[in-house]
Protein backbone atom coordinates (compact mmCIF):
# COMPACT_ATOMS: atom_id res chain seq x y z
CA UNK A 1 0.00 0.00 0.00
CA UNK A 2 1.32 3.41 -0.95
CA UNK A 3 1.97 6.29 1.45
CA UNK A 4 -0.70 8.36 -0.30
CA UNK A 5 -3.36 5.69 0.20
CA UNK A 6 -2.56 5.40 3.90
CA UNK A 7 -2.93 9.17 4.27
CA UNK A 8 -6.20 9.10 2.32
CA UNK A 9 -7.72 6.42 4.53
CA UNK A 10 -6.33 8.23 7.58
CA UNK A 11 -8.06 11.47 6.53
CA UNK A 12 -11.35 9.68 5.92
CA UNK A 13 -11.35 7.97 9.30
CA UNK A 14 -10.12 11.21 10.97
CA UNK A 15 -13.06 13.22 9.66
CA UNK A 16 -15.59 10.47 10.40
CA UNK A 17 -14.24 9.81 13.92
CA UNK A 18 -14.23 13.55 14.75
CA UNK A 19 -17.77 13.86 13.40
CA UNK A 20 -19.32 10.87 15.19
CA UNK A 21 -17.29 11.40 18.37
CA UNK A 22 -18.45 15.03 18.65
CA UNK A 23 -22.04 14.44 17.67
CA UNK A 24 -22.57 11.67 20.23
CA UNK A 25 -21.56 14.16 22.97
CA UNK A 26 -24.02 16.78 21.76
CA UNK A 27 -26.92 14.42 21.18
CA UNK A 28 -26.53 13.07 24.72
CA UNK A 29 -26.23 16.57 26.26
CA UNK A 30 -29.71 17.94 26.82
CA UNK A 31 -28.68 21.61 26.68
CA UNK A 32 -27.33 21.45 23.13
CA UNK A 33 -29.29 18.48 21.76
CA UNK A 34 -31.62 20.54 19.58
CA UNK A 35 -28.70 22.54 18.16
CA UNK A 36 -26.83 19.29 17.42
CA UNK A 37 -29.85 17.71 15.76
CA UNK A 38 -30.17 20.75 13.51
CA UNK A 39 -26.48 20.33 12.69
CA UNK A 40 -27.10 16.69 11.84
CA UNK A 41 -29.93 17.69 9.51
CA UNK A 42 -27.55 20.11 7.76
CA UNK A 43 -25.01 17.24 7.48
CA UNK A 44 -27.67 14.93 6.03
CA UNK A 45 -28.64 17.54 3.44
CA UNK A 46 -24.99 18.07 2.42
CA UNK A 47 -24.56 14.28 2.25
CA UNK A 48 -27.58 13.93 -0.02
CA UNK A 49 -26.55 16.79 -2.30
CA UNK A 50 -23.00 15.45 -2.64
CA UNK A 51 -24.28 11.97 -3.46
CA UNK A 52 -26.72 13.35 -6.04
CA UNK A 53 -24.04 15.50 -7.67
CA UNK A 54 -21.69 12.52 -7.84
CA UNK A 55 -24.31 10.44 -9.63
CA UNK A 56 -25.12 13.29 -12.01
CA UNK A 57 -21.46 13.99 -12.76
CA UNK A 58 -20.45 10.37 -13.18
CA UNK A 59 -18.03 10.05 -16.08
CA UNK A 60 -17.66 13.82 -16.43
CA UNK A 61 -14.10 15.23 -16.71
CA UNK A 62 -12.25 16.68 -13.71
CA UNK A 63 -12.57 20.26 -15.01
CA UNK A 64 -16.33 19.93 -14.46
CA UNK A 65 -16.27 17.86 -11.26
CA UNK A 66 -13.72 19.94 -9.32
CA UNK A 67 -15.52 23.34 -9.58
CA UNK A 68 -18.83 21.72 -8.63
CA UNK A 69 -17.38 20.04 -5.56
CA UNK A 70 -15.55 23.26 -4.64
CA UNK A 71 -18.92 25.03 -4.81
CA UNK A 72 -20.47 22.40 -2.53
CA UNK A 73 -17.68 22.89 0.00
CA UNK A 74 -18.09 26.70 -0.06
CA UNK A 75 -21.87 26.47 0.36
CA UNK A 76 -21.51 23.87 3.14
CA UNK A 77 -19.00 25.94 5.07
CA UNK A 78 -21.11 29.10 4.62
CA UNK A 79 -24.24 27.32 5.87
CA UNK A 80 -22.46 25.99 8.92
CA UNK A 81 -20.78 29.36 9.54
CA UNK A 82 -24.17 31.11 9.35
CA UNK A 83 -25.80 28.58 11.63
CA UNK A 84 -22.93 28.83 14.12
CA UNK A 85 -23.13 32.63 14.13
CA UNK A 86 -26.88 32.52 14.64
CA UNK A 87 -26.55 30.01 17.49
CA UNK A 88 -23.71 31.86 19.23
CA UNK A 89 -25.55 35.18 18.92
CA UNK A 90 -28.67 33.67 20.41
CA UNK A 91 -26.76 32.15 23.31
CA UNK A 92 -24.83 35.36 23.98
CA UNK A 93 -27.93 37.54 23.87
CA UNK A 94 -29.91 35.33 26.23
CA UNK A 95 -27.65 32.90 28.13
CA UNK A 96 -30.67 31.72 30.18
CA UNK A 97 -29.36 31.68 33.74
CA UNK A 98 -30.82 30.35 36.96
CA UNK A 99 -29.64 30.43 40.58
CA UNK A 100 -30.83 27.47 42.64
CA UNK A 101 -28.98 28.60 45.76
CA UNK A 102 -30.56 32.07 45.76
CA UNK A 103 -33.95 30.52 45.00
CA UNK A 104 -33.73 28.21 48.01
CA UNK A 105 -32.65 31.08 50.26
CA UNK A 106 -35.54 33.28 49.10
CA UNK A 107 -37.96 30.40 49.72
CA UNK A 108 -36.82 30.40 53.36
CA UNK A 109 -37.49 34.15 53.80
CA UNK A 110 -41.06 34.02 55.03
CA UNK A 111 -42.96 37.24 54.34
CA UNK A 112 -40.03 39.28 52.99
CA UNK A 113 -40.72 38.14 49.44
CA UNK A 114 -43.62 36.48 47.66
CA UNK A 115 -42.94 33.81 45.08
CA UNK A 116 -44.76 34.16 41.78
CA UNK A 117 -45.54 30.82 40.18
CA UNK A 118 -48.21 31.33 37.55
CA UNK A 119 -48.60 29.60 34.20
CA UNK A 120 -45.66 30.80 32.07
CA UNK A 121 -44.43 33.14 34.83
CA UNK A 122 -41.97 32.61 37.63
CA UNK A 123 -40.28 35.17 39.85
CA UNK A 124 -40.58 37.25 42.98
CA UNK A 125 -42.46 40.21 44.39
CA UNK A 126 -40.99 42.29 47.22
CA UNK A 127 -43.92 43.97 48.99
CA UNK A 128 -43.54 47.69 49.71
CA UNK A 129 -41.99 47.98 53.17
CA UNK A 130 -43.54 51.38 54.03
CA UNK A 131 -47.08 50.55 52.92
CA UNK A 132 -49.53 48.69 55.13
CA UNK A 133 -50.55 45.22 53.98
CA UNK A 134 -53.53 45.29 51.65
CA UNK A 135 -53.20 49.05 50.95
CA UNK A 136 -52.83 50.18 47.33
CA UNK A 137 -49.29 50.86 46.19
CA UNK A 138 -47.55 51.39 42.85
CA UNK A 139 -45.46 48.57 41.40
CA UNK A 140 -42.03 48.62 39.80
CA UNK A 141 -42.02 45.96 37.10
CA UNK A 142 -38.37 45.21 36.40
CA UNK A 143 -36.94 43.80 33.18
CA UNK A 144 -33.35 42.80 33.89
CA UNK A 145 -30.17 42.26 31.92
CA UNK A 146 -29.37 39.08 30.04
CA UNK A 147 -27.22 37.66 32.84
CA UNK A 148 -29.87 38.18 35.50
CA UNK A 149 -32.51 35.88 36.88
CA UNK A 150 -35.15 36.88 39.40
CA UNK A 151 -33.79 34.94 42.39
CA UNK A 152 -30.27 36.31 42.05
CA UNK A 153 -31.33 39.94 41.57
CA UNK A 154 -34.04 39.91 44.26
CA UNK A 155 -31.63 38.40 46.78
CA UNK A 156 -29.10 41.12 45.90
CA UNK A 157 -31.71 43.86 46.36
CA UNK A 158 -32.79 42.48 49.75
CA UNK A 159 -29.19 42.14 50.93
CA UNK A 160 -28.14 45.60 49.74
CA UNK A 161 -29.30 48.63 51.74
CA UNK A 162 -28.65 50.98 48.84
CA UNK A 163 -31.38 49.19 46.88
CA UNK A 164 -34.00 49.46 49.64
CA UNK A 165 -35.61 52.48 47.93
CA UNK A 166 -36.82 50.13 45.19
CA UNK A 167 -39.30 48.50 47.57
CA UNK A 168 -39.96 51.21 50.15
CA UNK A 169 -43.09 52.74 48.65
CA UNK A 170 -43.33 50.36 45.70
CA UNK A 171 -43.84 46.65 45.26
CA UNK A 172 -40.85 45.39 43.29
CA UNK A 173 -41.63 42.63 40.81
CA UNK A 174 -39.05 40.72 38.81
CA UNK A 175 -40.25 37.85 36.62
CA UNK A 176 -37.90 35.48 34.83
CA UNK A 177 -37.65 35.70 31.07
CA UNK A 178 -38.59 32.53 29.15
CA UNK A 179 -35.94 29.82 29.79
CA UNK A 180 -34.59 31.73 32.81
CA UNK A 181 -35.00 30.60 36.42
CA UNK A 182 -38.05 28.34 36.73
CA UNK A 183 -39.67 29.61 33.52
CA UNK A 184 -39.53 26.68 31.09
CA UNK A 185 -40.98 28.43 28.03
CA UNK A 186 -38.46 28.32 25.15
CA UNK A 187 -37.01 31.78 24.47
CA UNK A 188 -37.74 33.43 21.15
CA UNK A 189 -38.45 37.03 20.28
CA UNK A 190 -42.19 36.36 20.16
CA UNK A 191 -42.23 34.40 23.45
CA UNK A 192 -40.31 37.28 25.01
CA UNK A 193 -42.95 39.78 23.88
CA UNK A 194 -45.75 37.51 25.05
CA UNK A 195 -43.95 37.24 28.38
CA UNK A 196 -43.99 41.05 28.80
CA UNK A 197 -47.76 41.11 28.22
CA UNK A 198 -48.30 38.24 30.69
CA UNK A 199 -46.12 40.00 33.25
CA UNK A 200 -48.07 43.25 32.82
CA UNK A 201 -51.41 41.43 33.07
CA UNK A 202 -50.24 39.67 36.21
CA UNK A 203 -49.11 42.89 37.92
CA UNK A 204 -52.18 44.85 36.91
CA UNK A 205 -54.44 42.04 38.14
CA UNK A 206 -53.11 42.39 41.71
CA UNK A 207 -55.73 44.06 43.91
CA UNK A 208 -53.18 46.34 45.57
CA UNK A 209 -51.66 47.70 42.36
CA UNK A 210 -52.32 51.42 42.01
CA UNK A 211 -49.97 52.06 39.10
CA UNK A 212 -47.05 50.51 37.22
CA UNK A 213 -43.60 51.89 36.52
CA UNK A 214 -41.29 49.95 34.21
CA UNK A 215 -37.66 49.76 35.22
CA UNK A 216 -35.50 48.12 32.59
CA UNK A 217 -31.82 47.48 32.29
CA UNK A 218 -29.67 46.50 29.33
CA UNK A 219 -31.30 43.74 27.23
CA UNK A 220 -34.53 44.25 29.21
CA UNK A 221 -35.07 47.59 27.49
CA UNK A 222 -36.16 45.94 24.23
CA UNK A 223 -39.01 43.91 25.79
CA UNK A 224 -39.91 46.89 28.02
CA UNK A 225 -40.20 49.23 25.04
CA UNK A 226 -42.41 46.70 23.25
CA UNK A 227 -44.71 46.49 26.28
CA UNK A 228 -44.90 50.27 26.67
CA UNK A 229 -45.86 50.67 23.01
CA UNK A 230 -48.99 48.52 23.29
CA UNK A 231 -52.28 50.43 23.08
CA UNK A 232 -53.98 48.72 26.02
CA UNK A 233 -51.02 49.09 28.39
CA UNK A 234 -51.13 51.95 30.90
CA UNK A 235 -47.93 52.94 32.65
CA UNK A 236 -47.06 55.68 35.12
CA UNK A 237 -43.55 55.99 33.70
CA UNK A 238 -40.55 54.17 32.28
CA UNK A 239 -36.97 54.27 33.52
CA UNK A 240 -34.51 52.76 31.06
CA UNK A 241 -30.94 52.02 32.10
CA UNK A 242 -28.48 51.52 29.24
CA UNK A 243 -31.14 51.37 26.50
CA UNK A 244 -30.34 50.38 22.91
CA UNK A 245 -31.84 51.20 19.55
CA UNK A 246 -32.18 47.62 18.25
CA UNK A 247 -30.79 44.11 18.53
CA UNK A 248 -28.60 44.82 15.50
CA UNK A 249 -26.71 47.44 17.54
CA UNK A 250 -26.06 44.88 20.28
CA UNK A 251 -24.74 42.32 17.81
CA UNK A 252 -22.63 44.91 16.00
CA UNK A 253 -21.16 46.09 19.30
CA UNK A 254 -19.65 42.60 19.62
CA UNK A 255 -18.92 41.82 15.98
CA UNK A 256 -19.44 44.62 13.49
CA UNK A 257 -20.64 42.59 10.50
CA UNK A 258 -24.43 42.50 10.81
CA UNK A 259 -25.43 44.60 7.82
CA UNK A 260 -27.36 43.77 4.64
CA UNK A 261 -28.17 40.06 4.30
CA UNK A 262 -26.16 39.22 7.44
CA UNK A 263 -28.94 40.89 9.44
CA UNK A 264 -30.89 37.68 8.86
CA UNK A 265 -28.49 35.98 11.29
CA UNK A 266 -29.62 38.19 14.17
CA UNK A 267 -31.91 35.99 16.27
CA UNK A 268 -33.29 38.82 18.43
CA UNK A 269 -33.95 41.91 16.34
CA UNK A 270 -35.68 43.82 19.16
CA UNK A 271 -36.44 46.94 17.10
CA UNK A 272 -37.03 49.36 19.99
CA UNK A 273 -36.81 52.37 17.67
CA UNK A 274 -40.04 51.21 16.00
CA UNK A 275 -41.90 50.68 19.26
CA UNK A 276 -40.61 53.96 20.71
CA UNK A 277 -42.87 55.92 18.35
CA UNK A 278 -45.96 54.53 20.09
CA UNK A 279 -44.86 55.15 23.67
CA UNK A 280 -46.94 57.83 25.39
CA UNK A 281 -45.90 57.56 29.06
CA UNK A 282 -43.05 59.68 30.52
CA UNK A 283 -39.68 58.09 29.72
CA UNK A 284 -36.32 58.59 31.38
CA UNK A 285 -33.24 57.11 29.77
CA UNK A 286 -29.93 56.83 31.60
CA UNK A 287 -26.86 55.97 29.55
CA UNK A 288 -23.14 55.99 30.21
CA UNK A 289 -20.56 57.28 27.75
CA UNK A 290 -18.24 54.57 29.09
CA UNK A 291 -20.67 51.67 28.72
CA UNK A 292 -18.62 48.94 27.01
CA UNK A 293 -21.63 46.73 26.14
CA UNK A 294 -24.33 49.12 24.94
CA UNK A 295 -22.93 51.85 22.70
CA UNK A 296 -23.87 55.32 24.00
CA UNK A 297 -24.76 56.34 20.43
CA UNK A 298 -27.33 53.54 20.30
CA UNK A 299 -29.03 54.92 23.43
CA UNK A 300 -29.08 58.40 21.90
CA UNK A 301 -30.54 57.05 18.67
CA UNK A 302 -33.36 55.39 20.58
CA UNK A 303 -34.06 58.60 22.48
CA UNK A 304 -34.45 60.47 19.20
CA UNK A 305 -37.09 57.94 18.10
CA UNK A 306 -39.43 58.87 20.97
CA UNK A 307 -42.24 61.08 19.77
CA UNK A 308 -45.01 61.15 22.40
CA UNK A 309 -45.07 62.05 26.09
CA UNK A 310 -42.32 63.67 28.09
CA UNK A 311 -38.82 62.28 27.73
CA UNK A 312 -35.61 62.86 29.60
CA UNK A 313 -32.12 61.65 28.73
CA UNK A 314 -29.49 61.52 31.47
CA UNK A 315 -25.84 61.05 30.51
CA UNK A 316 -23.37 59.74 33.06
CA UNK A 317 -19.65 59.33 32.65
CA UNK A 318 -17.19 56.75 33.92
CA UNK A 319 -19.80 54.08 34.67
CA UNK A 320 -19.21 50.64 33.15
CA UNK A 321 -22.11 48.48 32.06
CA UNK A 322 -22.15 46.19 35.09
CA UNK A 323 -21.78 49.10 37.53
CA UNK A 324 -25.18 50.71 36.91
CA UNK A 325 -26.67 49.42 40.16
CA UNK A 326 -23.69 50.47 42.27
CA UNK A 327 -23.21 53.94 40.81
CA UNK A 328 -24.43 56.60 43.33
CA UNK A 329 -25.14 58.97 40.45
CA UNK A 330 -27.44 56.47 38.74
CA UNK A 331 -29.13 55.36 41.96
CA UNK A 332 -29.82 59.00 42.75
CA UNK A 333 -31.24 59.55 39.24
CA UNK A 334 -33.56 56.53 39.60
CA UNK A 335 -34.76 57.77 43.00
CA UNK A 336 -35.52 61.21 41.54
CA UNK A 337 -37.47 59.64 38.69
CA UNK A 338 -39.50 57.48 41.08
CA UNK A 339 -40.30 60.47 43.27
CA UNK A 340 -41.41 62.49 40.26
CA UNK A 341 -43.67 59.77 38.83
Amino acid sequence: MTFGKRIKYGLISGVLAAFFGSMIVFVLSESVRMIALTGLIIAAVIFGITLLVEVLLEGKPSKVRIPVFALIIIISVLSVFSYSLYTIGKRMTFPCTSDEEAYEELCDMDGAVIEIDEEGLSGWRIPASAVAEGEPRPVILYFGGNGENSSHRVEYILDNEKSAFLYENYDFVFLDYPSYGNNETPITESSLYQFTLDAYNYVSSLETTSGITLLSYSIGNGPAMYLASQDDVELDSMIMLAPYNSGYDLYNANLNIFYGPLRLLVAFKLPSYKYARNVSCPVTMIASTDDEIIPYESSRALFSSLSGGSANFITVEGVLHNDFFTSPEIISAIMNCLEAS
Binding site: S13, L16, F20, S22, A43, G59, S76
Partner: protein
Protein backbone atom coordinates in the same frame (compact mmCIF):
# COMPACT_ATOMS: atom_id res chain seq x y z
CA UNK B 1 -11.84 7.21 -11.98
CA UNK B 2 -13.55 5.22 -9.24
CA UNK B 3 -17.30 5.14 -9.56
CA UNK B 4 -18.34 2.44 -7.11
CA UNK B 5 -21.02 3.11 -4.52
CA UNK B 6 -18.64 2.85 -1.57
CA UNK B 7 -16.48 5.64 -2.99
CA UNK B 8 -19.52 7.85 -3.56
CA UNK B 9 -20.86 7.27 -0.08
CA UNK B 10 -17.50 7.95 1.53
CA UNK B 11 -16.96 11.16 -0.38
CA UNK B 12 -20.44 12.36 0.51
CA UNK B 13 -19.91 11.47 4.19
CA UNK B 14 -16.58 13.28 4.30
CA UNK B 15 -18.07 16.35 2.60
CA UNK B 16 -20.94 16.39 5.07
CA UNK B 17 -18.67 15.85 8.07
CA UNK B 18 -16.02 18.52 7.50
CA UNK B 19 -18.24 21.59 8.10
CA UNK B 20 -19.99 19.83 10.96
CA UNK B 21 -16.68 19.13 12.66
CA UNK B 22 -15.94 22.87 12.51
CA UNK B 23 -19.42 23.52 13.86
CA UNK B 24 -18.80 20.99 16.65
CA UNK B 25 -15.76 22.97 17.76
CA UNK B 26 -17.82 26.14 17.95
CA UNK B 27 -20.50 24.29 19.91
CA UNK B 28 -17.92 22.91 22.32
CA UNK B 29 -16.68 26.47 22.96
CA UNK B 30 -20.22 27.67 23.69
CA UNK B 31 -21.14 24.69 25.84
CA UNK B 32 -17.97 24.43 27.92
CA UNK B 33 -16.06 27.74 27.70
CA UNK B 34 -12.92 25.60 27.53
CA UNK B 35 -10.53 25.80 24.61
CA UNK B 36 -9.03 22.42 25.51
CA UNK B 37 -12.38 20.70 25.27
CA UNK B 38 -13.31 22.74 22.20
CA UNK B 39 -10.36 21.16 20.43
CA UNK B 40 -11.73 17.67 21.13
CA UNK B 41 -12.80 17.14 17.48
CA UNK B 42 -9.25 18.01 16.42
CA UNK B 43 -7.79 15.45 18.83
CA UNK B 44 -10.15 12.85 17.41
CA UNK B 45 -9.21 13.80 13.87
CA UNK B 46 -5.47 13.64 14.51
CA UNK B 47 -5.72 10.46 16.59
CA UNK B 48 -7.84 8.64 14.01
CA UNK B 49 -5.54 9.74 11.18
CA UNK B 50 -2.44 8.46 12.96
CA UNK B 51 -4.03 5.15 14.05
CA UNK B 52 -5.39 4.44 10.55
CA UNK B 53 -2.03 5.35 9.03
CA UNK B 54 -0.23 2.93 11.37
CA UNK B 55 -2.80 0.21 10.67
CA UNK B 56 -1.77 0.51 7.04
CA UNK B 57 1.47 -1.28 8.00
CA UNK B 58 -0.23 -4.18 9.84
CA UNK B 59 -0.24 -7.27 7.57
CA UNK B 60 -3.95 -8.17 7.69
CA UNK B 61 -5.31 -4.65 8.08
CA UNK B 62 -3.36 -3.17 5.16
CA UNK B 63 -5.44 -5.37 2.86
CA UNK B 64 -8.69 -4.36 4.58
CA UNK B 65 -8.37 -0.61 5.05
CA UNK B 66 -12.14 -0.10 5.15
CA UNK B 67 -12.18 -2.31 8.22
CA UNK B 68 -9.59 0.03 9.77
CA UNK B 69 -11.65 3.09 8.88
CA UNK B 70 -14.79 1.54 10.42
CA UNK B 71 -12.96 0.42 13.56
CA UNK B 72 -11.32 3.81 14.08
CA UNK B 73 -14.65 5.60 13.53
CA UNK B 74 -16.22 3.42 16.23
CA UNK B 75 -13.27 4.28 18.49
CA UNK B 76 -14.00 7.97 17.88
CA UNK B 77 -17.63 7.37 18.86
CA UNK B 78 -16.49 5.66 22.07
CA UNK B 79 -14.11 8.53 22.83
CA UNK B 80 -17.05 10.94 22.52
CA UNK B 81 -19.08 8.77 24.86
CA UNK B 82 -16.24 8.78 27.41
CA UNK B 83 -15.94 12.59 27.16
CA UNK B 84 -19.67 12.92 27.79
CA UNK B 85 -19.50 10.62 30.83
CA UNK B 86 -16.38 12.27 32.28
CA UNK B 87 -17.15 15.97 31.62
Amino acid sequence: MRTDLRYKLTLAAVFASIPLVLFAMVLFIIATDSLWIALFPLYLFAGALIITFILGFVPFMKDHMWLSVSAVTVLGLLAGLILYLVV
